[in-house]
């Protein structure tokens, strides 16, 4: 007969490896388990090919490391145009210029800007916005760096929502570990926008060369001013500037 003392204390049984592997948030090199996730096309063919779900993964944290402002709108505008719902800009590094967004075709009614300079406010807002399942959250890390735990909170919140959750961090953050599902480094190179994917959950990184995305044609030099500049830089300091025109007065002494 069992008596009270024989009842084992309620301690959770130690998790077995199999159980742990069943967890959705466990990262295993190559695994097809994650491929069913929803994604939204990046708008760039080569980049889509490099990404596991052929697009930006939804409801997980995407981390973009870059030095200051480096073509982030070039990178995400096609995806934002493809996603419905609100786009929240949390803590943007400068004022978004409405004219450029109207030109790009993004509905300004869909865009909300929030400034949260303090770290705790930033995290609270990020969590609130991601959970609300709005179309996309684009957040720029505040001056005070985020710790791993805080990034984990952001990742969990992003997993609860259904939209895009993108966190921009300085280039130096590349060296730190982060729970984000997708991490990439972007910079503007002479040939275009260079994207290096250096972490992708469920996919062992084999990419050796960065993907280069073309920049808009309007940014290309329209007038050969820069060529002139470079030429003039090569010229000696004491060289006399070439006379462009002669002015001949009509009256008076020459």
């Amino acid at each position: 007969m069992m008596n009270m003392t024989n009842i084992p204390p309620e301690t959770p049984a130690p998790a077995s490896l199999e159980q742990l592997l069943l967890r959705d948030d466990m990262w295993m090199g190559h695994s097809r388990r994650f491929t069913a996730r929803a994604a939204v096309g990046t708008g760039y063919g080569e980049l889509d090919l490099g990404l596991l779900n052929r697009g930006w993964p939804l409801s997980c944290l995407v981390e973009v490391c870059q030095q200051g402002m480096q073509g982030e709108w070039q990178l995400f505008t096609p995806a934002l145009l493809a996603t419905p719902g609100l786009v929240a800009l949390l803590n943007p590094p400068a004022i978004p210029f409405s004219q450029a967004f109207i030109q790009a075709g993004i509905d300004l009614e869909r865009m909300i800007v929030l400034s949260a300079a303090e770290k705790n406010h930033f995290i609270a807002c990020f969590i609130e916005l991601s959970r609300a399942s709005i179309g996309a959250v684009l957040a720029w890390q505040p001056a005070e760096a985020l710790t791993y735990t805080e990034l984990r909170k952001c990742q969990l919140a992003a997993a609860e929502g259904t939209g895009l959750a993108i966190l921009f961090r300085p280039a130096s953050a590349q060296q730190q570990s982060s729970p984000a599902a997708l991490r990439l480094y972007s910079r503007i190179a002479p040939t275009g926008l260079e994207i290096t994917v250096f972490k992708q959950k469920g996919h062992l990184q084999t990419q050796t060369k960065p993907i280069v995305l073309a920049l808009p044609e309007q940014w290309a030099p329209a007038l050969p001013y820069h060529a002139l500049n470079q030429q003039s830089a090569r010229l000696k300091q004491d060289a006399k500037p070439r006379r462009l025109a002669r002015v001949i007065p009509l009256r008076g002494k020459p």
Binding site: P84, I95, F97, S98, A100, E109, M111, Y225, Q230
Partner: protein, 510 residues
């Protein structure tokens, strides 16, 4: 007791309301007059003794008595009346206001017939009412009759309420007898009728009654108009419907006293951390939500008051963007407010107050011609999140962008509240020009290093110039904008200011 259906109205006329509403401190020893449109409308006893009369002009009154002159404040009078109604609500649920234009006097009309039993008869009820009014600074006259108008006019005559002899079947003839003795001058609100009647030889209301009984009321209707006839019918309780007696009496309006929500919870132990307040906050908000639901109302603003055992108090205000009738959002907003501060003392009681509520707006759907329902609904679903974010960051930190017509780039970018609609009509001139995605809040000066432009790296111009000139009527702007590339290939938007001959960075293409 009184027969069913017979009404008993008590009119309380506040003869000095114009003054006491302005100066409720009680009688002064100085002559004071209240004026409106440069005419005296009320003179206190001192001023009246000096010869000031109503309708006298201000200068004459001042010359006569050297009195203090105050301008009438109708709003204060109304609020005084409101206060009095609130107090008298304990005696009768039927309270009306009466305002006499001719006399510039107001009063309250109470219907008492249904309250007599509760207060033990008319004598004891009226004693209680008068004792209550005597405690207020307002002087008053009263009149008792079978109809509201008649009671008002009887307040000009001086009849004491002695016993219950004015209640019951013999009451109405008694009131009519008293009315008959009144001069027609009391009908001051109908000056044309009074003048016409005086010319025809009518002196008292009794003369009118004789005429009505002898002939019919229709002669009055023909000469003096429908309004005046209605008044007479009301005073003398004449049924104007010739074909059939009315089945029902005119309904009385039930007075609605001010209502607000105020509840508090006292803790059994001093509370020092916010988490321990949470169950109490939730409970109080549920009560509020219950209160609002039962009244079909919603509220937008609540106040919390926390107090310790020494009666130290601290107030916390919670505002929501949209009216709420459910407690969840208010709960979240309250917690955000509490999160942002520490409890200043050991909390003993917490009180929730909601003074103002509004009727639930009817849910209506706008016709959607331009197919923007989807966008609207997404913003609607997002309301709660926005409210929480605003509570945390402040209203100004959450905004939308819009375009405003201007030539100067920084003036075209406007920050709007979320509820506002933004203009997205971009004129041709801006639509086809290069515009950066980021705009610096203030243009940054570019250094000249080794004869080259330098801003965190050497710059070289690629596209341009685009000349922008504008705002000549204020601070004139003339700039040549270029797309430039920095050493690290970052495209930036720079301009040469034609006024101060300096280069600036204004935006970044990203």
């Amino acid at each position: 007791m009184n027969a069913p259906g017979s009404r008993l109205w008590l009119a309380i006329r506040f003869s000095d309301l114009a003054l006491t509403a302005l100066k409720p401190d009680g009688p002064t020893t100085k002559p004071i007059v209240v004026i409106e449109k440069k005419r005296v409308i009320f003179a206190n006893a001192m001023a009246a003794a000096a010869g000031v009369t109503v309708t006298m002009d201000t200068t004459t009154a001042q010359l006569l008595s050297g009195c203090e002159i105050v301008e009438r404040d109708a709003v204060k009078e109304q609020s005084a009346l409101h206060q009095l109604s609130e107090q008298l609500y304990q005696f009768s649920p039927y309270i009306d206001r009466y305002y006499s234009d001719g006399l510039v006097q107001s009063g309250l009309l109470l219907e008492l017939s249904s309250c007599l039993a509760l207060f033990g008869g008319l004598a004891s009820l009226s004693k209680k009412i008068f004792a209550h009014l005597a405690a207020t600074p307002y002087g008053f006259e009263y009149g008792l009759a079978h109809s509201a108008q008649a009671a008002w006019y009887l307040s000009f005559a001086d009849y004491d309420i002695v016993g219950d002899e004015v209640v019951g079947n013999k009451a109405k003839p008694l009131f009519i007898e008293r009315l008959n003795k009144l001069s027609i001058d009391v009908l001051i609100d109908y000056p044309r009728a009074v003048e016409a009647l005086a010319k025809t030889g009518f002196k008292t209301l009794g003369d009118l009654a004789l005429q009505i009984n002898g002939k019919s009321i229709s002669s009055f209707r023909k000469r003096l108009g429908q309004d005046f006839t209605d008044l007479l019918c009301d005073i003398y309780a004449i049924d104007q419907n010739l074909l059939q007696n009315s089945l029902f009496e005119k309904p009385r309006d039930i007075y609605r006293p001010d209502e607000w929500f105020e509840q508090e919870i006292q803790f059994e132990y001093p509370v020092t951390i916010v988490e321990q307040l949470e169950p109490a906050i939730e409970n109080l908000l549920q009560q509020l939500s219950d209160y609002l639901r039962k009244r079909q109302q919603q509220c937008q603003y609540i106040e919390w008051c926390i107090a310790d055992i020494y009666r130290k108090k601290e107030w916390l205000k919670v505002n929501s963007d949209e009216p709420q009738s459910h407690w969840q959002l208010l709960y979240d907003l309250t917690l955000i407010q509490f999160d942002n501060r520490e409890l200043p003392f050991e909390v003993d009681t917490i009180k929730l107050i909601c003074h103002h509520s509004m009727p639930l707006q009817r849910r209506s759907q706008l016709l959607d011609f331009d197919q923007n329902r989807r966008r609207k609904s997404s913003l609607q679903d997002f309301t709660i999140t926005i409210a929480k974010l605003k509570a945390r960051l402040g209203d100004s930190a959450v905004y939308k962008l819009g375009y405003r017509d201007s030539r100067v780039p920084e003036f075209t970018n406007v920050m709007l509240a979320l509820a506002e609609k933004c203009n997205q009509e971009l004129p041709e001139v801006h639509l086809n020009s290069l515009r950066p995605t980021w705009l610096l809040s203030k243009p940054e000066l570019i250094e000249a290093r080794r004869n080259r432009l330098y801003w965190h790296g050497y710059l070289s111009t690629l596209v341009g110039p685009e000349r922008i000139i504008g705002d000549w009527w204020q601070e004139p702007v003339a700039r040549d904008y270029f797309l430039a590339k920095r050493q690290d290939h970052l495209p930036v938007w720079i301009f040469f200011n034609l006024y101060d001959k300096q280069w600036y960075v204004h935006g970044v293409f990203a």
